[in-house]
Symmetry: C2
Subunit: 361 residues, 2 copies
């Protein structure tokens, strides 16, 4: 453990003003390039600034233009590979536009999300890209407040039914439909869905289940719709017990499937709608000495680089994650630039990649 030198403080406007022999506000006007200032004062302030190594800064520029060239990005957790890919897409577009990105994690906590949006507005970001937390659906006033203050908002991946703003989302209905059809074509009839909507009590009917989905995130709701549509088209009556309605995490998936697999009427296949949650499925199979796909067929979502090297390599519906981030940032810049017509919804389609996690029954 060694000590390092404390850095020299950078020169302030006050020091520049003192050296130039003018008031602080005159110096600020001269350096920030706003308001009126005599040529003589401007010259003296600039000479003092050069002598002290003071540099006209972004803050002063922002004060006069009202533009911070910064975009706020609000999402659940950047350590989640899905959001890491999304964020990469957002920052790429922002960097190309000369904008910085301020990143906030909410961990799906609505209060943290509200505080983040308020703070970003106070910081005068030029716009916000947000993947809203599930609990925000009932009360999206924080997003309305941002927009009323002139900070445009683009929803990413998820939309809140009560907030009427532009969004860039994946085709979750189509993705879940495709995944379920893949299993139906292999002869499966008892197909579980992990996960469905979060519900306080397990649903006893499919009608209950669909009502529960109305209160959840758009992503969960649309995936359930795609799944149920595929079943009904194939003449399979949906069973509400096969849809996970508990804690929406990889651990929740493991708990749900564990209970399912111990049941007499156990499923022969499962659709897993989150990258990391597929690991929960593999864990539960390993714990019981069961094998995928012999004992349980699996179709996952997203196609991380490691998915093809799993045991077994997973069949997945592949969603364009980075494009999702890029598209959201582009939509936001259209709003920032006051383009008159902004597409309110952009759907990015999923494709299926077949590997070795689906068995014929």
């Amino acid at each position: 453990v060694e000590a390092v030198t404390t850095p020299e403080p950078r020169p302030t406007i006050t020091e520049v003003a003192r050296l130039a022999g003018v008031g602080r506000s005159s110096a600020a006007r001269a350096l920030g390039n706003y308001g009126s200032v005599s040529p003589r004062t401007r010259e003296r302030v600039q000479a003092a600034a050069r002598e002290l190594g003071y540099e006209a800064n972004e803050l002063a520029r922002s004060m006069s233009t009202g533009e911070t060239r910064t975009i706020g990005v609000v999402l659940a957790d950047i350590a989640n590979p899905f959001f890491a890919g999304v964020l990469r897409g957002v920052t790429d577009v922002c960097a190309a536009e000369g904008f910085d990105t301020i990143v906030v994690n909410t961990d799906e906590n609505v209060e943290r999300e509200r505080a983040a949006v308020r703070l970003l507005v106070t910081k005068q970001v030029d716009g916000i890209v947000i993947s809203p937390a599930g609990g925000a659906a009932a009360d999206p006033r924080h997003l309305e407040a941002a927009r009323e203050r002139g900070v445009p908002v683009v929803q990413l991946d998820r939309t809140l039914s009560r907030f009427d703003g532009p969004a860039v989302v994946l085709d979750n209905r189509g993705a879940a439909y495709t995944a379920t059809v893949e299993l139906l074509r292999a002869g499966h009839r008892r197909i579980a869905l992990a996960w469905g909507p979060w519900m306080a009590a397990p649903p006893t009917t499919v009608c209950d289940l669909e009502a529960g989905a109305e209160l959840d995130l758009s992503t969960t709701r649309e995936r359930l719709q795609g799944h149920l549509t595929a079943l009904r088209e194939a003449g399979v009556a949906p069973d509400p017990r096969l849809v996970m309605t508990g804690e929406q995490t990889a651990a929740g998936v493991a708990a749900f499937l564990g209970a399912m697999l111990d049941d007499d009427e156990r499923p022969t296949a499962v659709v897993v709608t989150e990258t990391d949650a597929a690991l929960g499925v593999l864990q539960v199979l390993r714990e019981r000495g069961l094998r995928c796909p012999d004992d349980l067929s699996v179709v996952g979502f997203d196609d991380a680089p490691w998915v093809q090297y799993l045991d077994p390599p997973l069949t997945v519906v592949r969603q364009p994650v980075q494009e999702l981030g890029e598209g959201s940032a582009r939509a936001l810049f259209e709003l920032v630039r006051n383009t008159e017509a902004v597409p309110s919804f952009v759907h990015l389609p999923a494709t299926i990649t077949r590997r070795r996690s689906v068995a014929r029954v």
Copy 2:
């Protein structure tokens, strides 16, 4: 495709000044709480601000305090799971301190890194956490310039030998030593290292190789040192051909190992120093119809959640990735607060997790 309403612009200082019947700079002083302003003017400006819904903002506050409560984070690629984990650690500490983080990806491009540091200084961030690009080692003047302007810099994961600043790093020497010893104990003698230092031409002697490492990143240099030390302690003469010195990517690892495995004196084991590069090893084995660990034993670095579900589950030296991010941010806040003694180096140790990718020979 629908059109959405363009948002109401938020009120500017100019509009507040117009309504209050005062000059723009008086209004700015009254709202930003700096310089001198008569009580009467202040009152009129505040009334106008209330009427227009103008809110005293962070920029004005920053102008008067010189603090933006923002930390710049410069790293190679947030979509890389290693850096995603690191960034999560940094943002957690910053959020707890009430600071925002501006994130910049350099993709290991030194010019992009220099531009990013310059811009962050101009934006008056309160400090910078940086994982410097390899090419920056020869000329770290951009980091010195930031520090001279009073923006403290903490190096994360990697250090530049010519930049004498605090750093929080993993114990890369110890990690590579541990990985190599694990393979030596299983009886391996021809152990490859992917990757070693990048070199323009393949080294012909170990001395060449060590000289090449002097010019590369601290991480690569220290891992090579740990690897060579383990070999020498076991009485195994290092073979420079077994150390990868080409392109430092997962594809580079695949190309290097592909060539090695076609050789007569092929290695029986490999130490892979990057999470994703282990996938390059699995790819090359799959392409040749070879198996891990029967045909090649592998010890990887880092322990992503999916590593235990690979085929086979990998033995890895586990590095505390999130703690690395947290530690760097904490060191930076000590500098920001002008704490007199800041530890110049913090080493975070690695531990080994044994699975099924190492065979006895």
